[in-house]
């Protein structure tokens, strides 16, 4: 009893002393509750025969039927495969780019040149996806596109890229890197800026070259940031940016382009099968959860850096 009261007093004291911090924290917590936790209640429609009018409570339970439907469908399996392949490729080719960019910016001595290049590579991030898709379609157009014009000069045949399944992934991943690599490099630049300058000063005294300083000081110092970013990326692995896919794909390229989210969009949302779409989305979320847990555990074991 006494123990209990003592603990209560401690909590009250703690709150009184630090209330400003909790007030600052509150908006984020409320945001999480309203936009992420409360909607979880609706996830149950993945196990129901959902009717918008009857509502969530009024719709009958049907167990795992939607999941059976999904896994009995060749197109869902194909979409799942495409999602994994596209995300993996994006990770392998897309993740190192901002780090490389940040390291390169760090080595540039001319400030004006550095700022200009940085602005240029940040810009695509602020362009809307619809415009990006327009730029991509125009650039790869067989008649007037810059890519085919160059191919023509070099004596190659023109290619109708956006109807060729084998070209979809390189184009999609490439345009993703073009759009986001610059902006994503900001966080690594910030990490580099936080490296203790005395490390470099003593390295210079010891006669280290710039190359050696980058490998022995910069990269090891920003490694925790890199790993945290990597874990976050792995958590979002299945969240392929499907807006751009919807804008770029064609039935002719579904074979390599159709991902889980575009499948959900066509199968679920366009024809109003919210329950089936929820089942597919829930499956996606479960896989993402397992991935981020695994990545975090591995990272904790081998590098002592982790999200929690």
């Amino acid at each position: 009893m006494a123990d209990h009261t003592k603990r209560m007093t401690r909590i009250v004291d703690h709150l009184r002393a630090n209330w400003q911090i909790y007030v600052l924290l509150a908006p984020t917590i409320i945001w999480f509750l309203v936009f992420l936790y409360r909607p979880m209640y609706g996830l149950q429609i993945a196990f129901k025969d959902y009717s918008v009018f009857r509502g969530i409570e009024g719709s009958p339970w049907i167990g795992f039927e939607h999941f059976h439907t999904l896994f009995g469908s060749d197109q869902f399996i194909r979409a799942l495969k495409n999602t994994v392949i596209i995300s993996m490729l994006t990770l392998v080719f897309g993740f190192p780019m901002p780090i490389i960019l940040a390291l390169m910016f760090n080595e540039v001595l001319n400030q004006t040149y550095k700022k200009t290049v940085q602005t240029v590579v940040y810009l695509p991030h602020f362009i809307s996806t619809v415009i990006i898709s327009g730029i991509v379609i125009t650039a790869f157009s067989p008649s007037s596109g810059v890519v085919n014009t160059v191919l023509d000069w070099l004596g190659f045949d023109k290619i109708y890229f956006l109807t060729k399944p084998e070209w979809f992934r390189p184009i999609f991943i490439g345009s993703g890197i073009w759009q986001e690599a610059g902006f994503s490099s900001i966080v690594f630049l910030a990490a580099i800026a936080g490296v203790n300058p005395s490390l470099y000063e003593s390295a210079v005294v010891d006669g280290a070259s710039r190359w050696q300083m980058m490998w022995k000081i910069t990269i090891p110092s920003i490694m925790p940031t890199i790993i945290i970013m990597l874990i976050i990326r792995i958590g979002n692995l299945l969240e392929v940016g499907f807006e751009l896919i919807i804008l770029l794909y064609q039935p002719a390229t579904y074979q390599t382009a159709d991902v889980v989210n575009t499948y959900i969009y066509r199968q679920g949302l366009q024809v109003g099968q919210y329950d089936l779409a929820a089942a597919a989305g829930l499956f996606n979320a479960v896989v993402a959860f397992v991935l981020v847990m695994t990545a975090n555990t591995i990272s904790k074991r081998y590098s002592r850096t982790s999200l929690w």
Binding site: V52, G55, Q75, I137, P251, Y254, Q267, G272
Partner: protein, 515 residues
């Protein structure tokens, strides 16, 4: 014939009442009655209580519509109506774009009021319309046999037509192609003989704004691309439901289209050029022929006059198919999935159906088509004629109508005289040409599924259609050969449940139209 019957039926019901609304013969209630309305459609998310048409309707009927639209911040009407249903708080009237499927699905569950008895007892003008067009009454009914909404009924028969560069034909000394073989020769000449005279082989004989429209050309080999004005729709042949993409006419047509594509007779960028292709290819003097809307396509003759030397893009008769049939597969659907319905929360259903009926009276029909008499139009020799300000106002007539609340997607019966008045001369000639020939075919007007049928359809159809379209584009692009792939294709459709879908379609069709 049918039109005559309909017109006389309407006349009979309206003849009883004297004209002029000042005497209040259209008055539905003595005291003003307010009804709330959800109205969501692509051009407006919400019902403007200040529409001139609304103000006039208030004066004539005593009923005031109050805007209670859900989802005003989205332009997606589907999302809006689902949002409305999910809140459970339905306004008295639910109207707008594409409400047919939701009202027919949730009506039998109790969300909307069945209208059959109400129409019978309180809506003589709507009843007269449906008595003359029982096929439409059947087509809009839900699986339980009840009607749940009053549709927007478009008028006019023709939508799209085949257009060709008459000036190119003249330059090359060619005639308009009368059949598919002549068409082929003309297209080859367009490709090879430099009709635009710039010395480059840059002409694109066939182009389309929507790639789906290219598939329409399979009708030249007696195939079909769709049974209705929606792309990839089912069709009815001798009372049997079929999908056009599972028929042999389609196979033969596609084989030829693939050949035409490979030979460069079809826009090489047909799948990605998109909606601006007509603008671009016509103004750059590159495009030779297309299949597109009468009115908007004819409009290029005026807008490109002086820009493209001698530009003359004319509608011409569909070339005869290999078996000699001239077919215009596209036509306007006689009713839209748009309109309005009465929700279960409405406490004044009789007044509401009378209000719906008002728009089928002569006065209501003129009001919903042309706006307020004296403001936007006047009666000239018994014909409603738009004022000069409307016709020459520099803004499209339909846009002006939307602004006053006419031609919006309430349940109303369109009057083709509205559109004819501002249709370009070239298009009018084309429509008359098409009208003089027997080109149209019966449309598949859709079916309403019960819950079990809906489940079979939902589970299988989207996937099957995805597969069909994948193969369709692949064949056009030359990845695979339709003739040799056909048996595998049909077998794959079977595996995906094509026959199950046809079975439920057929069951629903028989129930709805009684064979």
């Amino acid at each position: 014939m049918r039109k005559m019957k309909l017109a006389s039926a309407i006349l009979m019901t309206t003849a009883i009442a004297p004209v002029a609304h000042a005497d209040g013969h259209l008055q539905i209630v003595d005291e003003p009655l307010e009804l709330t309305i959800h109205m969501h459609w692509p051009r407006a998310q919400g019902y403007n209580e200040e529409y001139a048409v609304e103000l006039a309707a208030r004066e004539m009927t005593g009923i005031h519509l109050i805007d209670a639209t859900s989802g005003k911040n989205t332009t997606d009407h589907n999302e809006a109506i689902n949002l409305l249903l999910a809140t459970g708080d339905l306004p008295d009237i639910v109207g707008g774009h594409r409400i047919k499927d939701p009202v027919n699905q949730y009506g039998p569950e109790g969300a909307f009021v069945p209208l059959n008895d109400l129409i019978e007892e309180h809506a003589p003008h709507i009843k007269a319309f449906f008595d003359a067009r029982p096929d439409i009454a059947q087509a809009i009914s839900s699986w339980d046999g009840n009607m749940y909404y009053i549709p927007y009924l478009p008028d006019g028969k023709f939508g799209r037509a085949y257009f060709i560069r008459q000036d190119w034909l003249d330059t090359l000394g060619l005639e308009q192609p009368q059949d598919v073989n002549e068409l082929y020769d003309v297209l080859v000449a367009f490709r090879d003989n430099d009709p635009n005279g710039n010395g480059l082989k840059d002409e694109i004989p066939i182009f389309q704004r929507q790639w789906e429209e290219l598939i329409r050309y399979v009708t030249l080999w007696d195939g079909r691309s769709s049974g209705s004005d929606t792309y990839h729709d089912f069709m009815v042949v001798d009372g049997q439901l079929q999908h056009p993409y599972a028929t042999e006419g389609y196979r033969d047509g596609m084989a030829h289209l693939a050949k035409w594509y490979a030979e460069g007779l079809i826009d090489p960028e047909i799948f990605t050029r998109g909606s601006s292709s007509r603008d671009y290819l016509l103004s750059e003097n590159l495009g030779g022929m297309t299949h597109d809307w009468f009115a908007s396509t004819s409009g290029y003759n005026a807008s490109l006059e002086g820009t493209v030397e001698g530009f003359n893009f004319v509608p011409y008769l569909p070339p005869a198919s290999i078996s000699g049939v001239r077919m215009e597969e596209h036509r306007r659907i006689p009713f839209k999935p748009d309109g309005w319905a009465i929700s279960h929360t409405n406490e004044n259903v009789v007044e509401t159906i009378k209000y719906f009926d008002f728009f089928f009276t002569e006065e209501g029909r003129l009001l919903s088509n042309f706006g307020v008499e004296g403001d936007t139009w006047n009666m000239v020799d018994g014909e409603p004629v738009f004022t000069d300000e409307v016709l020459n106002g520099g803004i499209a007539v339909n846009t002006q109508m939307y602004e006053v609340g006419a031609q919006i997607q309430r349940g109303y019966w369109q009057d083709y005289r509205y559109e004819w008045q501002w249709t370009a001369e070239a298009a009018r000639e084309g429509i008359e040409l098409y009208d003089a020939n027997d080109l149209l075919i019966d449309q598949f007007l859709g079916v309403a599924f019960n819950e079990d049928e809906q489940r079979v359809y939902d589970r299988n159809w989207t996937q099957i259609q995805t597969y069909m379209l994948e193969r369709q584009q692949a064949w056009i692009l030359g990845t695979g050969d339709i003739e040799s792939d056909w048996d595998d294709y049909v077998a794959q459709l079977d595996r995906m449940g094509y026959n199950d879908v046809i079975e439920v379609m057929q069951a629903a069709y028989t129930r709805q139209y009684g064979n």
